[in-house]
Each structure stands twice: as structure tokens, then as C-alpha cells.
Symmetry: D2
Subunit: 166 residues, 4 copies
């Protein structure tokens, strides 16, 4: 590609090994094991340069630092970056409420982009909480902040819960 | 990280050079120049292994091939992958309606995940069309398909249009 | 309330009798029976001055004529009017795909308001189609038009399907 | 319609007189004047049997009591009821942040229905707060509760702000 080409290398472990380990634990145990590095982080976390900074039942915080390689064609970080961190934080907030043997899948993700994210934004922080944990459906909402506490976006999700798949 | 570590390297060009070139053209010209490789693709396109396969006024198709490095912790491709391809296709569909000098920003993205995407899904295809191109706000919708034509997801967006910034 | 007061009276039949009749039929049968007037329309249909104008499997059209009594405090028809017609058309499109014994409940409704609706808009028409009818979840989308075919809004929904409750 | 017919009559004042009065005031003044009964409530409020119970800057609470005339064909209160109360509370929360001369229009409404509402639910309460009041776009979120504090639904909106139309 020539001299102006930049490079970034992602290194990861087998995500199916992570998924198999996650399945044996409650959501809270699995997320805390990932946070402590006892289970390898899933590769998309590395692609997005994100990490899990807080895990409680129904409440999860991710942070992330977007790079130049997350840019869109119109001069800012691609909306897919914020969407990915919202999807992670919202899904994990729901996951944190589930006992071992239960699983979930995300039905939808709705992200409202409030301020543009650029290279200069630095570290962002996505705080998610469960609004309602029903027997079949869980609803969660999250807010994305910059380091100074300014709101960058808001997101919500509905997840479908699979019960008793132990 | 040891012997089980896998690696993927992304190589890209300066996205601000792409953004500067894009600004001088109509949306249709800019997207077609990217499709023909005359303007470097923005890095997020490469991170997600996507490409622009069709560009018409108000109608854009992206395809993408998710890899293992796009996995989440629960055994499938992260929802951020589909969200990114939806955001790209929907935003570019809106962009394709804009004359030179106008710009846009995405206000929100709503993605409905219909079937899980895994490593075996292969190439996916996101077809977006503009529902309404207003003077200030444009609305677009898109459907994501697998290679066999099965619906994987549905997405919608609203974009804010900046007029007359030439 | 004095001489400037206006009045509108709604007359309806017991909606639980309608619901009981609906339960015995497939979705398509129930909707067609309502369209032909063999089952009383549910009261909200009358409150919103709506009617079912087309029913096919996975495709439903409602029309409605908003009145002054549907106004909000800022000089136009309340967003709840369009929301109600979208919710009806989208839910009925999903319902039209269900055999007798199955039921559904709406998980979420997302409405994008494109043009304001006023007293002068006249009759509006909401065309809904099912995007995907899964075993547990169905997704539908709809467009709202004025009499001249201008797009007034766009909506989507996800419904949860209860199987085999006959 | 025969002996089983039920009737409900709505009485209202000219909503354009309300809209004209609202235009002269800040959002907070207009909403408080409606709450105190100094400006007639808009008719849709009466159609839905709702009232404004709390107005602060960026924070609004509506309550409502659905009746049998708000029923859908499947045995519960129509989703349009909750949608209308969400649209009212969210829009008024945004309105409460606007000075005299500014206006707003709702771009989209997203409602997540968490528990079914029936005749027996009684009074519901919708609490809305502004997430971000930008110069052009405001985002708000709201939660709907029953009298016992159970969550019935969650909603979000984006509104477009018209500045300086005094």
C-alpha cells in the first residue's frame, strides 16, 4: 500500500473456548472472570480496544479508546464503534443477571449518537443498567460519556432469555 | 500470548485525507470513487472486512465477511459487526442523495438482529434504501441477508443533513 | 366547559368478546372477520377513527382520519395518533401470519415521524409488511402515507409469538 | 349498535388556541399553565385520560388511567395508549428546557412494552427526563410504572429544536 500505510495487529485466543467457559458459570461469575483476565477476552473487545471496568448484578461499565483505524469516511470515529461498546455493555448488563445454565441473545440495539467521537475524544465510558429483567425478555439502557463526563450517546436493548440450558 | 494466539493485521491510509476528498464531491461521486478504489476506503471498512458493492442514488449495498476476530463472548459474531455494516449502508444511502457541499451526521441507528451470525455464515449483504430525504432529516432502512438470501437483520436510521457547507 | 366546548362520542362493544372470538381463529380469519364487520372492531380503533382496509398474509393496511380531538398542545395531531396506527398495522401484519391457537405480544414499537400531521392532512394510510416471521420473534415494518402518497412516517416492531396456546 | 353498546364522550376546547398560548411562553411556563388549568389541555390528553402531574426543567411526569375504550383486539390496552403517554411525557420533558420563542418537533419515538396493561392495571405513571439538550437535537428517556411501582415500559425520543422563532 505504500509509505503512508499504517498498521494495527490484533491478537486473540479462540473465542469458542471463551464461550464454552462462560456457559458453565453464572453471568456475574463469567464477567468477573473476564474482567480479572481468567477467561480470555473475546476478540471483538480487542478489535475495539475496549475493556470491562465494572461488573455488578444488572450494572456493567465498559471503557474503550477508539483509534484512527476506527474512522469512517467523513472524518470521525465510525458509528459502529459506539454501537459495539453499547451492545457489549447492554448485553453484559443483562448477562450479569442470569444464573448458570441460562443464556441470552440480543433482539435489538437502538443507539442515539449525541456528540461526534474523534481521535481527540480519548477514552470513553459506557454505563449500562438493566431496566427490567423479565422471565423471557430483559430490557437495558446505557449512556456513553467522554472522560470529562459529557454525554456522547444513549442506547437501549431488548434481550431474549433462554432459561434452563445448563 | 502463547501458541494459541491468532493474529490479524489491518493496514489503512489516513482517514482524514479520505474525508477531505469526500467533502469536495457529491455523495454519489464520493461513494463511486471509493467503490472504484480512487479514494482509500476508511479504516473501519477494513476492520470489518466490508466493501461497497453497489451505489445508486438513495440505494447502497455493502457486503462483508465476518471473521473469528469479530466474535463476542457467547459463541457468535458480535452484534457490533452487523451494527457497523448497517450504519455504513444506511449512512451511505443517505449520503448518496446529497449534492457536493452538503454533509450529514447519523442521529440514531436501530438494528433488529433476526438470525445469529457465526463463522459459518460467510459473506453477508446489507441493502439500504432511503425512505425519505427531507431538507433537514433523512430516514433510511436496510435489510441484512446471508448468501442464501435469508434475512439476518433489519435496521433503520435518521440522519441530520447540513446544507450548503461547500 | 362553556360555549366553545366541542364533543365527540365513541361507542363500542365489549372488547373481551372480540378478544375471545379472535382467539378461536387464525390471524388471517380474525382480521378478515373484523374487516367484514363480523367481529366488532376493538374500541381503540374507533377512538382513533381507523379501519382495516387490506388483509393478506404478512401484509396489512390500515387507514385513519385524525380529528381535532387528536391534537397535541403544539398545533398538530399528537404523535400518539401515528403511533397507534403503526402499532395496529404492524401488530396485525404479524398476527396475519399466525395459525389458530398462536398468539403474540408486541415487544417494542419504533416510529419515525417524517412530516407533521394536521387537521388538513385528511385520510392517512399505513402499509405494514412482515420482514421476518421467526418461531419466537417476528419483525415487521410499515410506512405511513397521506392521500397524495407523501411519506408521513416509518415504523418497525418486534413481536413475541406464543406458540400452541389453543 | 344495540343494548351492549358502551359510550364515552370527550369534550375539548380549540387546540389551536392552546397552541397559540403555548407559543408565547417558555416551555416551563406553558406546561405549568396547563398543569394549573390556565391553558386548556390539548384534546389528545382527554382522549387518553391523562394528566400532567409534575413539571420541572428537563423532568416531567404524566399519569393516565386507561379505560375499556382503549382496548386492542387481543384482550389488553392498545400499545397506542402507552405510546401516547410516552410521547407526551418525553416531548414535554424536552419542551420544559426551551425558552420562549423556541419550538420542537419529535423525530422519533421508541417504546419498549414490558408488562401488558389491562383494565385492572389502574393508574399508570410515566416519568421522563432529558438525557441531553443539544442546540439542534434533544434526547429524552422515560419509564412507565403501575401504581405499585412495577415497570410497564421504557421509552426514548429524539426531538428537533427550532431556535429563535419568537
Amino acid at each position: 500500500m505504500g509509505e503512508h500505510t499504517k498498521r494495527h495487529t490484533i491478537e486473540w485466543h479462540d473465542p469458542l473456548a471463551t464461550a464454552a467457559a462462560v456457559k458453565e458459570m453464572s453471568g456475574l461469575e463469567a464477567l468477573r472472570a473476564m474482567q480479572r483476565g481468567e477467561i480470555p477476552l473475546p476478540p471483538m473487545t480487542l478489535v475495539m480496544n475496549m475493556r470491562l471496568v465494572l461488573v455488578e448484578e444488572g450494572h456493567v461499565v465498559f471503557s474503550g479508546e477508539p483509534g484512527e483505524y476506527h474512522y469512517n469516511p467523513i472524518g470521525s470515529v465510525h458509528g459502529g464503534y459506539a454501537s459495539t461498546i453499547f451492545d457489549s455493555a447492554l448485553g453484559c448488563a443483562v448477562h450479569s443477571t442470569l444464573p448458570a445454565g441460562d443464556g441470552y441473545t440480543t433482539l435489538d440495539l437502538h443507539v442515539r449518537f449525541i456528540r461526534a467521537i474523534t481521535h481527540e475524544t480519548g477514552r470513553v465510558r459506557c454505563e449500562a443498567r438493566v431496566v427490567n429483567a423479565g422471565s423471557r425478555i430483559a430490557v437495558a439502557e446505557a449512556t456513553l460519556y467522554d472522560a470529562g463526563g459529557k454525554v456522547l450517546g444513549h442506547g437501549t436493548t431488548s434481550c431474549f432469555i433462554f432459561r434452563g440450558r445448563g
